[in-house]
C-alpha cells in the first residue's frame, strides 16, 4: 500500500558554491550518509555508544570513592571496556551529560545536592577515560581483568581453548601492535616459534600508577612529595615485577604443556637421529669402498707379479730350451759329421773338417744349424762343405771388417800427425829447455828494465848458469823468447806448440799400443777363451769390441794429458812447461811399461798356470807366460814378485798388530 503525494513547498533555499571547509560542512556531510539516507537525530545519538545505565547504579556511587568505581560502567561502556574507541567514550560521555546533568535534572524537578551528586562520578570517569594516560593506568588495573592462571585440570581438558582465551586476553597489554595468535593443534612450526618468541620477549605497557596509595600532589612540601613518589615508585615496580612473572608463568605453563612443542622436539630429535644415521651409513659405505679398493689393488698387484714372474720364467725356459736345442743341434751336427768321418777324403781334410765343424758350430745360429742338419741328412757332404765355406766366409768377412776399421783408424791417426816440424824450431825447443826458461824468468826479474845492455847481460847470465852447457843463447834469442813469453797471444807462442807437441806425442804412443794389441788378436787364429766367452754372451757380437775397450781406456788418459798441457801453457806466461812434459811422459811411460794393470781374468789365468806348472817344471815361466795372452815372461815374473811382496807385507803388518 503506497500512497504518494507531491507538493510544492515554499521553502527558502539557495544554491551556493560551498567551500569544503569547516566543522559545519563536515557535520553536514556526515549526516548525509553514503546511500543518501539521512539518519534521524535520535538514531545518530544512540549509535555505537553502548548500553543504558541504570539510574540506581549511578545513584549508588559515592563521588568520594571515585577511584574504586568502574569508570566504564559509569559511562555505559561496561561491555566494550578497553576496546572502546576515543570516539565511543566521548559520545557516551556526551549522552550521559545530556541525561544526567544537574541542570537538566533540576529542570525536571529533581532535587540535586551539588556536592554529593553522582554526576561528579560521570565527569571523573570521563576525566580518566578521556585522556590517554590515565585511561591506560585504569585499563592496567581493570577490575574485570582476570589475572589468574589456568588450572592443570582445565589445561588437560581443553588445552587450546584455554590458552587461546588466555593469550588473547593478555595480548592487550602488548606494546607491540600485532600479537600473534596462539594457534591450533595443526599450527606450523614457524608460527608456534614466533608465538613463543613474542611471548618470551613480551613487553607490556601495563603499569600500576592507578593503585598509588597516596597522591603525589597531596604532599605538603617538596620532601614529602618526594617521599610519596618514592614509595609509589617502589610499589609500582613491585607490582610490575609480579605482573612480569605472571606473564612468564603463563607462557611457561603453555610452553610446558604444549603438545606441538613436544611434537616439534620429537621431530627434531628424529631428524637429528636420521641425519646421524645417514652420516654413519655414509662413512661406513665409504670405508667399505676404500677397503674393497685396497683389496682389489693388492690382488691386481699380486696377479701382475705372478704374471711377471711367469713371463720371466717363460723367457728363461725358452732361452734354456733354445740353448738346449742349439746344443742338441750342434751335437747332432758334430755326431753326424763324426759319424760320417768328417766327410774326409784324407787326414788333412779330416783335420780341416774337424776344425770347420767347430767353426760352423760357433758361427751358425740355430735356424742355420737346423737347416744344415736337415740338408746334411739328404745331401750329406755337399751341404757340409757348403756350410763350411759359408762359415769360413763369415769369419773372413768379420776379419776383413776388423781389419778395415783398424786401417781406417790408422789412416786418420797418421793423417792427424804433423809430419813437418821446422829444424829451427826443433833447435829452439832444445835451446829453450825448461831449465833455461826458468833461468830467463829469473834473469829478467834480476835485471829489470833500464839495466845497461840488459839483454846481453841476461844472455850471459843464462849461459853461465845453464847446466846443460849446450848451445849458447844470444841476446837476440833472449829478447825473442822473453817477448814470446810475454806475448799474451798463445796461438803464436812456441810454448803452446810445445804443449801441443807433447800432447800429440803421448796420444801417438797410446795409439801404437792399441795397434800392437790388435795385431796380437789378429795374429792368434783361435780367439782366446775370454773372447770366446764374450762372443757367446753378446750373441754373435763382433770380437773387435773386446779390443776396443783398451784404446778406449787409453783414450781417456790421453785427452786428459792433452788437456792438461794447454791448460798449463795458458797459465801465467812464465809457467814452467816442464810439468806437462813430465806428466805426459809419465803417463806414456806407464802405458808403455810393465805396469800395465792385470785384469781379473789374467790374474786367474796366472794363478791357474802357476798351480799347473810346479817349480820343478823346466822353462816354467815361459809356459806360464804362454798360458796368459798379452803377457810376456817378464811381466809374469814381475807380477808374481809384486804379489809375493804384497803378501809378505800384509803378513808383516798382521804380525805387528799381533
Amino acid at each position: 500500500m503506497t500512497n504518494s503525494l507531491e507538493l510544492e513547498v515554499p521553502l527558502k533555499v539557495a544554491r551556493h558554491q560551498i567551500e569544503r571547509v569547516g566543522l559545519a560542512y563536515f557535520n553536514a556531510r556526515r549526516k548525509i550518509a553514503p546511500g543518501g539516507v539521512e539518519r534521524s537525530e535520535s538514531d545518530e545519538k544512540l549509535e555505537g555508544v553502548g548500553e543504558e545505565v541504570e539510574i540506581s547504579y549511578l545513584k549508588s556511587l559515592d563521588p568520594k570513592e571515585w577511584k574504586d568505581q568502574d569508570h566504564y560502567s559509569v559511562l555505559g561502556l561496561g561491555k566494550l571496556r578497553f576496546e572502546a574507541s576515543d570516539d565511543d567514550i566521548r559520545r557516551a560521555y556526551r549522552r550521559m551529560v545530556l541525561q544526567h546533568h544537574p541542570d537538566k535534572r533540576k529542570a525536571k524537578g529533581e532535587v540535586v545536592i551539588n556536592d554529593e551528586d553522582y554526576f561528579t562520578c560521570i565527569t571523573k570517569a570521563y576525566e580518566i577515560l578521556g585522556t590517554s594516560k590515565p585511561r591506560r593506568s585504569f585499563d592496567s588495573v581493570d577490575p574485570e581483568f582476570d589475572d589468574s592462571l589456568p588450572s592443570q585440570t582445565e589445561i588437560d581438558n581443553d588445552y587450546f581453548a584455554v590458552f587461546n582465551k588466555m593469550f588473547k586476553l593478555n595480548g592487550r597489554w602488548s606494546e607491540r601492535p600485532q600479537v600473534p595468535d596462539f594457534g591450533e593443534v595443526d599450527a606450523k612450526r614457524e608460527e608456534v616459534e614466533r608465538f613463543y618468541n613474542f611471548w618470551y620477549d613480551f613487553k607490556s605497557w601495563r603499569e600500576f600508577s592507578y593503585l598509588d596509595e597516596e597522591d603525589k600532589e597531596k604532599g605538603q612540601d617538596r620532601d614529602e612529595r618526594r617521599w610519596i613518589e618514592k614509595e609509589n615508585k617502589a610499589a609500582r615496580i613491585k607490582r610490575k615485577k609480579e605482573e612480569m612473572s605472571r606473564i612468564r608463568d603463563l607462557v611457561n605453563l603453555a610452553y610446558n604443556n604444549d603438545k606441538r612443542i613436544q611434537r616439534f622436539k620429537q621431530e627434531e630429535k628424529d631428524r637429528k637421529a636420521a641425519a646421524k644415521r645417514a652420516k654413519m651409513d655414509a662413512v661406513q659405505a665409504q670405508k667399505a669402498e676404500q677397503e674393497k679398493a685396497v683389496r682389489e689393488a693388492a690382488l691386481a698387484k699380486e696377479r701382475a707379479d705372478k704374471a711377471e714372474q711367469k713371463r720371466i720364467e717363460q723367457i728363461r725356459i725358452e732361452r734354456e730350451q733354445q740353448k738346449k736345442v742349439l746344443k742338441k743341434e750342434r751335437k747332432t751336427l758334430r755326431d753326424k759329421v763324426k759319424d760320417c768321418k768328417y766327410y774326409a777324403k784324407n787326414d788333412k781334410d779330416q783335420l780341416k773338417h774337424m776344425e770347420g765343424t767347430e767353426k760352423i758350430c760357433e758361427t751358425f745360429n740355430l735356424a742355420e744349424l737346423q737347416a744344415l742338419n736337415k740338408a746334411m741328412e739328404s745331401k750329406g757332404r755337399e751341404s757340409f762343405v757348403a756350410a763350411l765355406q759359408t762359415a769360413e766366409q763369415k769369419i773372413a768377412a768379420e776379419l776383413e771388417e776388423i781389419n778395415q776399421t783398424q786401417a781406417k783408424k790408422l789412416a786418420t791417426a797418421t793423417a792427424a800427425a804433423p809430419k813437418a816440424a821446422g829444424v829451427k824450431e826443433v833447435k829452439k825447443g832444445e835451446l829453450w829447455s825448461n831449465e833455461n826458461v826458468q833461468l830467463l824468468i829469473k834473469a829478467v826479474n834480476l835485471f829489470p828494465a833500464g839495466t845497461a845492455q840488459r839483454w846481453d847481460v841476461i844472455a850471459t847470465f843464462i849461459n853461465q848458469h845453464s847446466g846443460s852447457g849446450g848451445a849458447q843463447v844470444l841476446a837476440r834469442d833472449v829478447l825473442n823468447k822473453a817477448k814470446a813469453l810475454q806475448n799474451s797471444d798463445h796461438s803464436k807462442s812456441s810454448l803452446k806448440t810445445q804443449a801441443n807437441d807433447a800432447a800429440f806425442a803421448s796420444f801417438e804412443k797410446s795409439k801404437k799400443e792399441v795397434q800392437v794389441s790388435n795385431d796380437i788378436t789378429i795374429g792368434e787364429e783361435a780367439p782366446s777363451q775370454e773372447s770366446k766367452e764374450n762372443v757367446k754372451q753378446n750373441g754373435g757380437a763382433h770380437p773387435n769390441q773386446v779390443n776396443n775397450q783398451k784404446p778406449k781406456q787409453n783414450g781417456i788418459s790421453t785427452p786428459a794429458a792433452a788437456a792438461a798441457a794447454p791448460a798449463a801453457g795458458a797459465g801465467a806466461g812464465a809457467a814452467p812447461p816442464a810439468a806437462p812434459m813430465t806428466n805426459g811422459t809419465g803417463g806414456a811411460g806407464g802405458a808403455g811399461g810393465a805396469s800395465k794393470t792385470w785384469t781379473k781374468e789374467e790374474q786367474a789365468l796366472l794363478e791357474q798356470a802357476i798351480k799347473s806348472y810346479p817349480t820343478t817344471t823346466p822353462d816354467r815361466w815361459d809356459r806360464i807366460a804362454a798360458c796368459i795372452p798379452n803377457r810376456s815372461k817378464k811381466d809374469c815374473l814381475r807380477r808374481v814378485k809384486e804379489l809375493v811382496e804384497l803378501v809378505n807385507s800384509k803378513k808383516e803388518a798382521q804380525a805387528a798388530v799381533k
Binding site: M1, T2, N3, S4, L5, E6, L7, E8, V9, L11, K12, V13, A14, R15, H16, Q17, I18, E19, R20, V21, G22, L23, A24, Y25, F26, N27, A28, R29, R30, K31, I32, G36, V37, E38, S40, E41, D86
Partner: protein, 484 residues
Amino acid sequence: MWPRFGIKIGNSTLCIAYVKADGKAEVIANKQGDRVSQACLLWDGDSEIECGLTAKQKMATRPKQAVAHSFQLLQPKEHLTEEIFSNALKDIPCDFDKEELVFRMEHAVPSEKEDQDDQIVTKELSAYQVTMELLRAELELAHQYHTDADQAPIAVISIPSYYPAEAFKLLSDAAETAGFHVAQIIAEPTAAVLGYNIGEDELQARQHVLTIKCGGLYSDFALFAVQNGFFIELATFGPFAIGGRQFTEALVQFICEEFKRKYKLDPHESRRSLAKIRTAAANCKHTLTTMPSTQLYIDSLMDGVDFNAQMSRARFESLIQPVINNLMQQLGECIEQAQQKRPELKRVDHIVLLGATMQIPKLQAAVASRFPDAKLHNSHSADEVVAIGCARQAVCLLDPLEQQLQKADDCVLVEDDLYIWHRDDEANATLVLGKGSIRAGDKEILANLPGPAAAEDGLFQLEVEVNWNDKDGNVVPQVRLSCM
C-alpha cells in the same frame, strides 16, 4: 592519525602548524627558532641542497646557486603567462629557463690550473622539485611530533586563492613526494578565516568576511559569506604586485639617498652594497613592526664606509605611506567592484589579515580606518594564521586518508525548517529538513511520523523525496511524500 599538520607555503615563507585531537593548533619552530621558514633553496655546487634561513643568508653572495620566490611558478604551463614571467623573473636570483620551465643554477668550480677558466657546473630544478625540497625541510619539523613510521603525516596545505584547480594537483603531488600525506588543499583566505573560527556557530546569521593578504611579493583580497558555519566564496581579487618587497624597497631607497648625501657615494653602483642594504632594510622592517625604533647599522657598506642611522617607526611609516596608499586604493577599487555586483556586500562584518606584510601596524591601522564597522582579526600573527587555519581544517577531516583537491561543492543551502506532523498535533512534528542543512542533489529522507494515524504498531514510515527543480537559476524544492 594524530597529530595532523597544516602547512602554508608561499613565495617567501613557509609555516607549519600541528594539531592534536583536542583541536588546538600550534606552530612548529624551525631549527633557528623561527616560527616561519624562508622559502629559499641553495645548491652547494655538488649534491647538497639546503633550505631556509642559511640558504637565504648565502644567497646574497652566491645568487646564481640559489632559488627563491619559486612558488609563483608552480602552476600548470598554460597558466604561466608572459606577465607572470616578467614579474617573477625580477625576483629569482638564478636563471630561469622559460622554455623548459626550470631553474638553472650555476656553480663555478675553481679550476686547478691558473690559466684555465673556471669550470661551470649547472643544476636544473623545476618549480615542482623546489617545492618538494622546501616541503621536505618542513617534514623534518613535522617529525618532531609525528612518530608513526608507517603512516605519512597527514597535512592540509594552503594555496593562494587565485591559483587554478590544476595547480592543486601539482602542489599535492609535490607534498606527497616530499613525504606528507595531503588530505586536502584549501585556499589561503579560507584557511585564515578558519584560523579565527569565524562563523563556527551554526546558528548565526549570514556574515561577510573580507580577507586581505599581503605577502612577500603579491597581495590579494577575497570576500566570503559565512552562513550556518558554511563558507561561501563570493569574490576574489588579485594578485596585485604589492608586497613586502615594495615596503623594503622604499626603505632601501631612503638608505641609499641618505648614504649618498652623507658620503657622496652611490650604493647603486655596487650590487653587493645593494644586497647588504636590502638585507638590513628587511631586518629593520621586521623590527619596526614590533618596536618603536631601531638602530640601522651596515658594516662596510661601500668602499669601507659603514652606515649607521637611527630609524624610528614614524619615519618608516612616512616612508612606506605611498605603498600603503597604493594598496588601499587597490583594495577600495576591488570592494566597490564587488559591491556593485552584490549590493548585500555593503556591510563587511569581519576583516582577516594574512601575509607577513599585514603585520605592519600602520597598514593594519589603515585597513581599520577604512572599515570602521568591521571587526579586525589580528590576534594571530598574520604569517602564521594560514598554517593554523590549515591545521584546524585537518581536525575537521572526516576521513583524512582520502584526498580532497576539489575546492568547493555545489550545494543547496536550506534556509528554513521543514516539519511534518499529523493532523493538528503540532507538538509531535518531525523535522525533515533543518535550517542550515545542505543538500547536494536528489536525496531521500526517511522520517518517522508519530501519531494516531499510524497503523497498528503506532508507527509508519514516511518517505520524503525532495526534488530540486532549477527554475531560472533559482531552486524550487519539490517534496513528494509516500506512505509505506
